[in-house]
Symmetry: D2
């Protein structure tokens, strides 16, 4: 394939969205994409993180993951965002990352990025749709091309049938309830494939 560049950008407190990001990277690489897995800056004070075992463990597990930059966005042909839901919307950490891209946006460099999103929540209907729809609203401001999975593969149905992007429920112990790996990989491949079409066509 055309050498498609994919940035998988996540925020993760309990590890779920980091795992989703890694699965997306695996899926994308299987069809030849060049992939960067990137996190966004934490906004919470260290003392709060220290007091939470799971959060602390995630910060430790992701300490070598590079922080996403405007240059990464410029580099990317495709972007997959992965975030937990916070009251039916993306977390402030990811919002902050989007908000500071005003310069990139004003220079037209966010245009025609092919994007999709993934999310997680404690409750099956606790923002798993709304969070992705909020993300896509912002992406339209960027002039991005939205390639949500729809029902383009049986894996989508198997993972709970979220046409806006793969989403997963997380139980009290921080474990994923549904097996969404196949859906994530399908979504990654679809996002990359559409990005390849756009990249080739747009040359």
């Amino acid at each position: 394939m055309e050498n498609v560049k994919l940035a998988v950008i996540f925020y993760s407190m309990g590890g779920t969205n980091y795992q989703l990001a890694k699965w997306a990277a695996e899926g994308a690489k299987e069809i030849g994409a060049e992939v960067k897995v990137l996190k966004v800056e934490e906004l919470a004070p260290e003392s709060v993180i220290e007091a939470n075992e799971g959060w602390k463990a995630t910060v430790e597990a992701t300490k070598d993951v590079p922080v996403a930059t405007s240059e990464d966005l410029e580099w990317a042909d495709a972007i997959i965002f992965s975030v937990p839901t916070r009251f039916g919307n993306i977390p402030s950490q990811m919002k902050q990352f989007l908000d500071i891209q005003g310069g990139l946006w004003a220079s037209g460099k966010t245009v025609n990025k092919v994007v999709s999103g993934m999310t997680s929540a404690q409750n099956p209907h606790g923002g798993q749709e709304a969070t992705l729809l909020s993300l896509y609203t912002s992406m339209m401001h960027w002039g991005a091309i939205i390639a949500a999975p729809g029902f383009t593969d049986p894996a989508v149905i198997g993972a709970g049938g979220n046409p806006y992007g793969t989403s997963v429920s997380v139980n009290q112990d921080g474990e994923m309830v549904e097996d969404v790996e196949a859906a994530v990989k399908h979504q990654a491949k679809r996002t990359v494939t559409v990005a390849e079409w756009v990249k080739k066509g747009n040359q």
Copy 2:
């Protein structure tokens, strides 16, 4: 309680939303509300309905349910809408019912109705959030007061944790997957209770 009048307005093809509507009516009556259960006009041709066993059965089962009118809306202090999702939005049958209320709306008679919504879908994430959010967008045009359930009762969590309104998944055989009866009744009581506050205060 103050004599609160509740209109439960549904569209149902397979029977699920008729059942949700009846549970809502039961819940509301338990706390003394006066309730009308009402359907909206069908738009599908009879030949299509005849060819579908489940649909035909629902039409038969609801044949004595009155069709909702502008007068019913004017009469009501509270309204609960119940609809299946159609591509992440309310069905055209319910949209048609809303659309033809231009006269009522222009005369200010939709203002301060206390509303909430319920929905169903084949997939857990197949529009169970998005459909309710679309409904509420229209309700803001009406000047309605939105009293979504949030997480105001453990029954909400038990039913899948949809803060926007009770939602249920329906399997291939048309059966509800989750037990949402308690969540529906809680939602109905909450909607009626808020409507009672508004009615008393607004006198």
Copy 3:
């Protein structure tokens, strides 16, 4: 260019969205697209239409415009929808058209259509954003690829800066308040161009 097929599907009561549709068709043809301008079925009773001069005139003006069908959707590489807002959501007439595509959807034939939307309202903020976002939610169910205009051309800013799609305010006399012709044509060209990339890549 690759022979891109565009369906411009509108609902119009006062003529505005028919005009937007025609401008979109012009823009698309300028870059070589094959275009069909199509209306959706009216749901209002004839007596209501007869009693409204502007509506009656629009029905008359569009009487030779073909009604959109599933075959048209299957034929199209790109689709532009144009509808007035009705309480912050698409009108029931268009929702009905979407809802009856269950067969097409189930056979996977809505996948990878490149789509965008246009709208109109009496008030600048009377649903000009919300209506388009509702449309796109449904399009994600279809597995469509969403190519909203974003801020990809100065004409978008000139027309009121709606990144979700061109929108226009309509005054009491049914006249458009802003000059959106250039924005519509830009949007049509962008939608067709992205569709060309997708079509070529997807062969």
Copy 4:
């Protein structure tokens, strides 16, 4: 009136939303509400603010405004949020404030707050609807009661007819394009009035 407590919580970079907040406070006080005007924490580094004249001036002008806390939310019967749009969604600064209310939310203390929102943008359709709808999605998670203005007063139409909340366009010089003062005051009175009904009824 019953002693209704209103928190007007804003984020402002250029001064517009601080002004909207002050008008809301004035309107609410005219009908006897007890009002706190509160800002949320800035997330941007000081060096960035220093380099921007308008931003620096706003920080200076609001330096004595208290930062909103969980206690303020608990204290309030009604909340009006006022934020600029950032890519069709609330700014990260306000999102951060919402996100850190997990403790308050888990203890049920966000329930039955009566809320509405206000916003601003450079473009008439640059998120003036979408930003408010995103805010309300989060408010449903809180179990809040949403009292958007709808079209409950001619001032709403005069200000651009945004039924979701007052919104204003801001030109290149940071000046408001439309005169929205009356609409803001109406919205504040409506929010407080509904909160009074809820408070009285809920005793």
